[in-house]
């Protein structure tokens, strides 16, 4: 398999959020600010890549009958490690993401890639797949978060999660014209539906007709 294609698959064609509809629980719940999206995305990329690598490394010695429990143990351990690190070094992010950090364990993207990809491919390919899929998830999350944050508060900002120092803050919509509903679950569903429809169009539109040569 072409490695570049493999890497790019996660963005549009097999974007985990908009094309495979995987891991939506956390996407809908925490996509309220850019900070949350970047933090969650980074945690998912790290866990997904590492779990793919470990599972690919063990693919020849893992008995087929008990592979799911083995995957779960590996993923749960990685998520717990990520949670402890976030709690220790980025407390604000930990508070904002709350229960959705431990819920990465049951994020179907991770178990899905372990089962569908890492258990059959080499360590390097699995790592590339993990990074690609993780980035696809993060890009989707950032897209929804920015749209919701701008519509609901008029501001888009980003602060350093380790020091709480504001890196940038831009007001795009005046205070009087914001739509507070977009910070609520309703806004998450609306935003997601519109983007998913757009991505679906991109994926399924008929390819340009090539000139027939007689």
């Amino acid at each position: 398999m072409n490695r570049l294609d493999n890497f790019k698959a996660g963005f549009i064609r097999e974007n985990p959020v908009f094309a495979l509809y995987l891991g939506l629980c956390s996407v809908l719940a925490i996509s309220t600010t850019l900070n949350n999206a970047v933090g969650m995305g980074a945690a998912v990329i790290a866990v997904l890549t590492l779990s793919n690598v470990i599972i690919a490394a063990m693919r020849k010695i893992t008995p087929d009958e008990i592979r799911i429990p083995v995957y779960i143990v590996v993923i749960a351990t990685l998520v717990k490690i990520a949670e402890l690190l976030i709690q220790a070094y980025a407390t604000d992010l930990y508070v904002a993401l709350g229960v959705f950090i431990p819920l990465i364990v049951v994020n179907c993207i991770i178990l899905g890639r372990a089962e569908a990809f890492a258990s059959k491919n080499t360590i390097l390919d699995s790592a590339i797949d993990g990074i690609g899929m993780g980035l696809g998830y993060t890009v989707g999350l950032i897209l929804i978060s920015v749209i919701r944050q701008v519509l609901s508060s008029g501001i888009v900002n980003f602060s350093n999660p380790f020091t709480q120092q504001m890196i940038f803050e831009v007001r795009l919509i005046p205070q009087n014209f914001v739509i507070a509903m977009f910070s609520q679950p309703t806004g998450a569903f609306l935003t997601f539906a519109v983007i998913a429809a757009g991505v679906e169009y991109l994926r399924t539109r008929p390819a340009k007709k090539t000139k027939e040569v007689k």
Partner: protein, 305 residues
């Protein structure tokens, strides 16, 4: 067969041991940092309530019957702060309440609040906090009209802290309980400005005539099925031409809303009202305008009878 099962068990055991080892290693590094963060965060909150305090010591709370007090801290020489958790409308609410040593409430800081935006969240605004800070531990605290569940929960939590504090400091006089907010009046309405209702019956007792009269309230005007007008007992002194008293006989509007007008403060407005004066008016109860106006209709019917 047995060999296969043993192989699986061993494999899972090895994986789990490795996982446990990795977790123990990371936990060893992060645990002290996390503990330090938690103390620092708590301290920052306590500092908001007692800005002058320099050191805080945890205080053990043993005899808290309510079970709402989660922690308490003594601010050296200033007062005591309680961390309280109560059940709000949607989710638990966590807050810190600070009492100065003389029993004055010096600060309320809401730490966690997930109730409805714009309704329950009103307890985390000056509207509510200013009504708490400055009172003493024996004063009652008013709930917020329209956010009764959330504010009532917070007041209940504050009272639990008060009980403990008062017992500790030997302050008598209880907690003052929960106070319902005063009625809020809306626009004035002239007593001759609405269509008259109908008089059901009347009886004369000397100078005072007692009318039983009804006036269309919200449910009738909105055309609810089977809606009935509100019925009132109105006493008018026919010599002085003044209203003696007005009270409910039957409330047929929405329960919990129409009921609002059944309060001393509302009825008091009618006592002594001059029925010959075209400009006589009363204030409607805000949030129960239609029901308030039904009284005016019934009153007009009685006057014109």
């Amino acid at each position: 067969m047995v060999k296969k099962a043993l192989h699986f068990a061993l494999f899972l055991a090895i994986i789990s041991t490795l996982a446990g080892g990795a977790l123990a290693f990371v936990n060893g590094i992060t645990a002290p940092i996390i503990a330090e963060n938690a103390i620092a965060a708590e301290k920052a909150n306590l500092q908001i309530i007692f800005p002058t305090a320099t050191s805080f010591a945890p205080l053990e709370v043993k005899d808290d019957e309510s079970g709402l007090i989660k922690a308490a801290y003594t601010a050296q020489g200033v007062g005591i702060a309680y961390k309280v958790e109560v059940l709000g409308y949607a989710a638990p609410i966590k807050f810190l309440i600070g009492f100065a040593d003389d029993g004055k409430i010096v600060g309320l800081s809401i730490l966690e609040l997930k109730d409805t935006q714009g309704i329950g969240t009103r307890v985390n605004s000056p509207e509510f906090i200013d009504g708490v800070v400055g009172k003493t531990t024996s004063d009652g605290i008013a709930t917020l009209s329209g956010a009764t569940v959330t504010s009532g929960a917070v007041v209940k939590g504050i009272n639990a802290a008060k009980v403990h504090f008062n017992a500790l400091k030997g302050i008598e006089g209880g907690t003052g309980g929960v106070v319902t907010p005063p009625l809020q009046f809306g626009a004035s309405v002239g007593i001759f400005s609405k269509n008259a209702g109908t008089v059901v019956s009347k009886s004369v007792d000397g100078d005072v005539v007692t009318f039983i009269a009804d006036g269309n309230g919200y449910r009738v005007l909105e055309g609810y099925d089977g809606a009935k007008a509100n019925v009132f007992e109105i006493k008018i002194n026919t010599v002085t031409k003044k209203v003696v008293s007005v009270k409910f006989v039957e409330m047929n509007d929405t329960a919990g809303i129409g009921d609002k007008i059944d309060a001393e403060e509302f009825w008091a407005q009618f006592i002594g009202l001059d029925i010959t004066n075209q400009d006589s008016s009363i204030d409607v109860v805000s949030g129960a305008t239609f029901t308030s106006e039904s009284v005016v209709r019934a009153l007009r019917a009685a006057i014109e009878d």
